[in-house]
Amino acid sequence: MPEDVLELVNTYQLSTFTTKVCQYAASTKEEWEEQCKLWPTSFHPPTYNIDGITGFSEDDSLSVFNFMKLAVRMAKSGGSVVNAAVIVDPSTRQVIASSHDEILSCGSQRNSTCREPCFSKQPQATNEYDSSKIEKDPMLLMKCPPNEAKQSYKDVACLHPWGWLEQPSHLSSDSWHPLRHAAIVAIENSAARDRCLFPVNAQDSEFAQEAHNMSSPTGSPLKRQKVKDDERMDCQKNGLRCDSSRPYLCTGYDIYFVWEPCIMCAMAVVHQRIRRVFYAFPNPNDGALGSVHRLQGERSLNHHYAVFRVLLPEDILKSEALEKPFQD
């Protein structure tokens, strides 16, 4: 036995035994499930299996491009330009959640998902988002005067994470929060959607049952179950289905950013288990996916996503960004 292992054994008075385990890490989910019958392991899907690593089909590229354009459209908040994040289920091409920065004011939300408690009104139409709408919208085609082209995008939270300290105070009625970057809010929205669509899931109730059988002295599993049941009632009232087959967090989902996320947002996206990250414009100030840090390359993390930069024609941002250059 290696010395450091022996030390652990002694420290924690472990009793050792010999058992059979797999020699190689599982490369598929099926292999992993088999493997766990011998000995429980954790599964890290190999990144080279991620769709898109070896290229995109024309159909997929179009879809990626359209979701990115949706993010660019969302990047306009009131009169200013901010970062936006759109979480997408690529298997159904459905928007799961979306948001833009809410650093300065949540009140100026154009998007009603901000304070929406339940997602029954989440526009299902967004999954049929039609790119031709962008071209048809006359506002978006407005060309910007050249002297206004040099925007510093000072309201883009991921570009200026410390910017909240320097902004002049708004009216006291204004809502603001230094950490509500687009990704943080989008993740919050996706979690709210998940709680609403899937109020009870097999894992939860199974575990609650288990804990109950162990007669936990706190009784909290029961309380927890009660809360779940209440949530389920709420959702049933809203006519939503209760399905136990749902992804764990955002496993398998994509996220689209207009700007490369800052390190806080990039790590938030790791925590929420996003599979692929797309961004349009690099973030030289605090970009965490290549510009300043390269989080996707940190080996110690328990989850890794693939990162893609979507090259948008520059005039898309200009027409989007300068549609309303000043406060109205």
């Binding site: 603001w176 950490l179 806080m264 110690s300």
Partner: protein, 192 residues
């Protein structure tokens, strides 16, 4: 608080605050959450506390630190404090957290401009205060921007306060099984 009454060895302030953070972590454990807890201190007063709520919220970003920060922001906004004053208050706050802040939380603490952080055990997988990245110092990242007004905020960071207590809580959580982990997890093999 009982520990204050029967203490035989005078404990330092740091240990006393970390005990409060550990109590928050225990609350998390009772709620089947990964047991990490924290408190925020201003002028030797506990002004906020938080614990991990990732399972309950299904939002993996709801770490103890984020919870505790949100409590303060809500309170100070209710009190009508302008942003400058909120920033000033954060710059006088000290955080005690049972586990090294992750990369996300370390970045958040820097963004709000916290003064100081004490943590229990190191976070070998996600640690943002030395283990994986060092976001509490100015060594990484660019300071100067076009316009030159943005800055990075440093905070002092000390680890290893009651680390074994923090680890023991985490261990007891993983021994009972993480309800939030993907299936299958550690269940004893059924025997026919």
């Amino acid at each position: 608080m009982a520990s204050f009454v029967e203490e035989t060895v005078p404990e330092t302030e740091t240990v006393a605050y970390m005990k409060l953070a550990l109590e928050q972590a225990k609350l998390a454990l009772d709620s089947l959450e990964v047991p990490v807890g924290c408190v925020i201190i201003e002028d030797q007063r506990v002004i906020s506390s938080g614990r991990n709520r990732t399972t309950e919220t299904r939002n993996a970003t709801r770490h103890a630190e984020m919870e505790a920060i949100d409590v303060l922001l809500e309170q100070w906004k209710k009190d009508g404090l302008p942003r400058e004053e909120v920033a000033l208050k954060f710059s006088k706050c000290t955080l005690y957290v049972t586990c090294e802040p992750c990369i996300m939380c370390a970045a958040a603490l820097s963004i709000i401009g916290i003064k100081e952080v004490y943590y229990g055990c190191a976070n070998d997988k996600f640690g943002g205060c030395g283990s994986i990245l060092s976001l509490h110092t100015n060594s990484s990242g660019k300071l100067m921007m076009s316009g030159g007004i943005s800055r990075k905020e440093e905070f002092k960071c000390t680890g290893g306060i009651m680390a074994s207590e923090a680890i023991n809580l985490l261990r007891s959580f993983y021994e009972q099984g993480n309800p939030n982990a993907p299936k299958p997890h550690r269940t004893p093999m059924p025997r026919a």
